[in-house]
Amino acid sequence: MNETPDASQQASVSRSALSLGLIALASAALLSWVYSLTESRIAEQERRDLLRQLQQVVPGDSFDNAMHEDVITVRHEVAFPGGQEVQVYRARRDGAPVAVAMKLRANDGYNGRIDLLVGIYEDSRISGVRVLSHRETPGLGDAIDIERSDWILSFEGKSPVQPGPDGWAVKRDGGVFDQFTGATITPRAVVDAVHRALQFFESNHDGLFSAPSQVQPGERESQDEA
């Protein structure tokens, strides 16, 4: 090989690298600009989402603190099997405990995990339960979803003594909760998970409310800026 094609080849390689680098740089600049533009709005949307979720299981007028920022994480292999990290959001009024909302998971659904949000009043009554996400069979197991049926509302007002330990099961197992035609596994998994959460709440009641929050008010914003 003589020198000329070699040199032109080198020139073409460096030109390619340069043009690719330019495009990468422009893309990075564009992305960081759009990110900074949308960042606070996205964080705000997510906060609103979370608060809206929490208010589905704990009535919004029953508390006056920033519930979505008053949170601790607990682990308990018996109550929340499968190594879950359960978020416990605390609702208070004038500083006094009102209710908690726990984000937990039932691992034994018909199609795997069912994510649940369980709200429990300070006196161990269920304030509300919602299914956050699931993969149960449409038309059968998906009746646990509030958009499909009112079944999930049957938890409201239940407590460890009302219906009592034996009552915390679907009717086929001798309990008080309806099962669905053709789908017993799904409601059974939900009932069990809610019952375990309730028992956990009852035996850890004081500790759950007194533990310091992981998110200090305003901390989330300052983290975003860092």
Partner: protein
């Protein structure tokens, strides 16, 4: 002007991404269970296609052929990320519904296909028009598929329109068949394949009939010649 007419005819009918070229089927089949979902993903894809086509065409003088593919990938990936961020900020509910399929627009072969086949060989304005036309073709397919599946599966049209149109969309739902007992299969994954198959068949039938009318003696050419799959 005929050039633009051609671009639109190709994008929407002759080379329709969903029905003829059969590219980008993964998002097409996955989120077409309602009209609103289809419309949302269709609009996002169309936006992406227009931006990427335009940008790719702009970079033509800058790029050497050896590095064009990585450059396209960069452009497409950052465009999709921008679309994703914007949707997350302004249509958050819809973003949650469409979930993973927004980032997956990156992998929609139709987009890099148009960048390579059209935008890299044409000037910015025709490239933009092509992005619009192909995107519109994809959008129409998605909405039709969504309409068929929603009609059969839920008995409604435009349900949950609030996801896309905020409060203005709340009254838009049209209940065609009230009551229970819908054909559930339609909104499940198999329904997507069946419905798409029917749409492709209808299109091929229309094409064949037109050809038949034009050249009655020679009959119908075997198969749809442009159909190709990846």
């Amino acid at each position: 002007m005929t050039k633009y007419a051609d671009i639109f005819a190709n994008g929407i009918w002759r080379h329709n991404t969903g029905l003829v070229v059969l590219l980008g089927l993964c998002p097409l089949l996955a989120v077409s269970n309602t009209v609103v979902n289809g419309l949302g993903l269709g609009l996002a894809t169309m936006m992406t296609l227009m931006v990427t086509n335009f940008t790719v065409s702009l970079t033509r003088p800058l790029l050497r052929p050896e590095v064009r593919i990585p450059a396209y990938v960069l452009i497409i990936a950052s465009t999709v990320t921008v679309v994703e961020l914007l949707m997350k900020a302004w249509t958050h509910e819809l973003y949650r519904t469409l979930g993973i399929f927004i980032p997956l627009i990156v992998t929609n072969c139709a987009i890099i296909g148009r960048a390579e086949a059209f935008a890299s060989r044409n000037r910015p304005l025709p490239a933009l028009a092509d992005g619009f036309a192909v995107g519109l073709g994809f959008l129409i397919t998605l909405v039709m598929l969504g309409a068929v599946r929603e009609l059969v599966g839920h008995g409604t049209l435009l349900r949950e329109a609030g996801l896309l149109f905020k409060t203005a969309g709340e009254g838009l739902q049209i209940t065609v068949m009230p009551g229970e007992g819908k054909f559930l299969l339609a909104i499940l994954p198999p329904g997507a394949f069946i419905a798409l198959g029917c749409l492709v068949a209808v299109r091929n039938w229309l094409v064949a009939r037109r050809r038949h009318v034009r050249v009655p003696r020679e009959g119908i050419a075997p198969g749809a010649p442009r159909t190709s799959t990846t």
